[in-house]
C-alpha cells in the first residue's frame, strides 16, 4: 500500500522556476502546466494622522504571470517544495478521487448495461 498522497497545484513565480521543478522528478502532470495572467491592485503608502504608514488601493492595477502545474505528491514532497519557495495548493487526498476498486465490473455486466 502506498503512503497517502495528495492532489496538488504547484505555483511557480516564473517560467524558469516552473521548469526547474523537473529536477525534483516528481509525479507532476506535464499536460496541466499552464500560465495564468493575474491582475492585482497596486497599493500605495498612505501616511495617516498618527504618522502610521498604511497601504491602500491606488486604483491602478498591475499584471503578472503565474505558472502552475498539477501533481500527486506526498507530504514530504510538498514540504520540500514549500521550503524551496513554491506555493503548493493542496486539493484533495488521493483516494478521494479513486473509483478503481469500488466500481470495477466484468464484461458481461458492462455489456448488459451498455445495451439497456
Amino acid at each position: 500500500m502506498e503512503s497517502h498522497r495528495f492532489f496538488v497545484t504547484v505555483v511557480a513565480p516564473s517560467r524558469s522556476r516552473l521548469q526547474r521543478l523537473r529536477s525534483y522528478e516528481l509525479d507532476l502532470f506535464r499536460e496541466s502546466a499552464k500560465v495564468t495572467e493575474k491582475t492585482e491592485s497596486v497599493l500605495g503608502a498612505v501616511r495617516e494622522a498618527a504618522l502610521r504608514e498604511t497601504y491602500k488601493p491606488t486604483g491602478q492595477t498591475s499584471q503578472r504571470q503565474e505558472f502552475s502545474i498539477d501533481g500527486l505528491l506526498s507530504l514530504e514532497e510538498i514540504d520540500r517544495l514549500v521550503e524551496d519557495g513554491y506555493q503548493v495548493l493542496v486539493q484533495e487526498r488521493d483516494l478521494k478521487r479513486s473509483r478503481a476498486v469500488t466500481e470495477g465490473i466484468e464484461f458481461q455486466d458492462w455489456l448488459k448495461g451498455m445495451e439497456e
Binding site: L26, D27, V35, L95, R97
Partner: protein
Amino acid sequence: MPPNGYLSVTGIASAQQYLVATYSSICQLIPLPEASIEGRTIRGLKIAGGEGGDRRGVLLIAGIHARELINPDLLVWFALKLCQAYTANSGLTFGARTYDASSIQLLVNELDLFLLPLANPDGRAFVQLPKGYAMWRKNRNPNPGMPCMGVDLNRNFDFLWSSGIGTSPDSCSDIFKGLGAFSEPEILNVRHFLDTYPNIGYFADVHSYSELILYPWGDDDNQTIDPAMNFQNPTYDGLRGTPGDSLYREYIPQSDLDWYVSTGNRVRDAIAAVRGHTYTVQQAVGLYPTTGTSEDYVYTRHFVDSSKGKVRGFVIETGTEFQPPYSEALRVIEEVSAGLVEFCLACQRTVEETLRGGAASAAR
C-alpha cells in the same frame, strides 16, 4: 441501467474475445509477442472490412498509465460501436454529433484500424486490487536490485531517452524511465505493431486528463526553418528541454505541422459537438518538456530510418480526472469516441489526397 464501473483486466480481455466472436468478418485478435512483466497476455485488435488492398493503418492505444482507467474502456466501447454500426450499415450518434452510415462504411472499408486497448494490464490490475494503489502510474516491473517497483512506460520509448529531460533514473520516481529505451515488454508491443504493420501511418495514444489534444514535439518548442536543428544532431545535446529560449527548437516540417493543427482542430470540433467540451489543441511540450513518450517516438521513426513510413501521432488527454464517476466516464467516452471517428476519417482523407496527388504527379 448503464454500467456503473470500470472494466476489470479480465473484462477487457473478454471484451476483445466478444468482439472477435461477434464480428468475425471485420474484427480479429492481434497476438503480441510480449507478455506483461507479471505474465499477462496482451492482445490487440484489428478492425477492417472491404476488399481494398492498398490500405493505410491507424493505431489507437490506451492504458499505458495504470491509473487512467477510463481510456481502455473507451477503446473497447469505440470498437464495439464501430463494429455494430458497420455490420448494421447504420450511422453513429454521439450526443449531438452524428456520422452517417457511409462514413462508417468508408472508415472500416478503407482503413486498417488497429487497437491496443490495454497496454499495461499489470498496472491496471494493481490499481483495481483492494490492497493495491488506485493512483499507481507505472508498470509492475520489480526492478531487481533497485529500491522501488515500476517503470513509467510513457518515458520508456526511444526518443531522446538518454537526455533525461522530464524523466528520472530513480526507480522510486513516478517518471522512472527504465534501464534503457524499450526495456519494458509492454512498450515493445507498441513497437511491434509499427514494425509488423508498416501501413500504419497514424497513431493516437489516449491518456488522462486535461481535455487536450497534443502533437509533437514534447522536448522543446517547434521550429520549421532549420532541418539540421533536430533531435538526432549531437551538436545540440545539452541545449534541449527549455521551451521559451532560443538555444534550441525541434524541427518539424511545415506540412506536417499544418496537418497536425488542422487534424487536431477537426478532432477538437468533433468532441465539442457532442456536449460542448472544447479540448485544446497544442504542442505537447507546453511549458513542461518530456522525452521518451509515445507520440514523439512514432513520429521519429521515419527521420531515423528513411525506409520507414511516416507515422503521425497525437496524444489525447481525456476528461478532467483519472477516475471520474462512471456516469461521467460514459460521457467522456462518448465525446472522445466522436473525436476518434473524426481522427480516422481525417486520416482516410489524407490517404485519399496523397494518392490523388501522386496520381496527378504521375500524369504530369
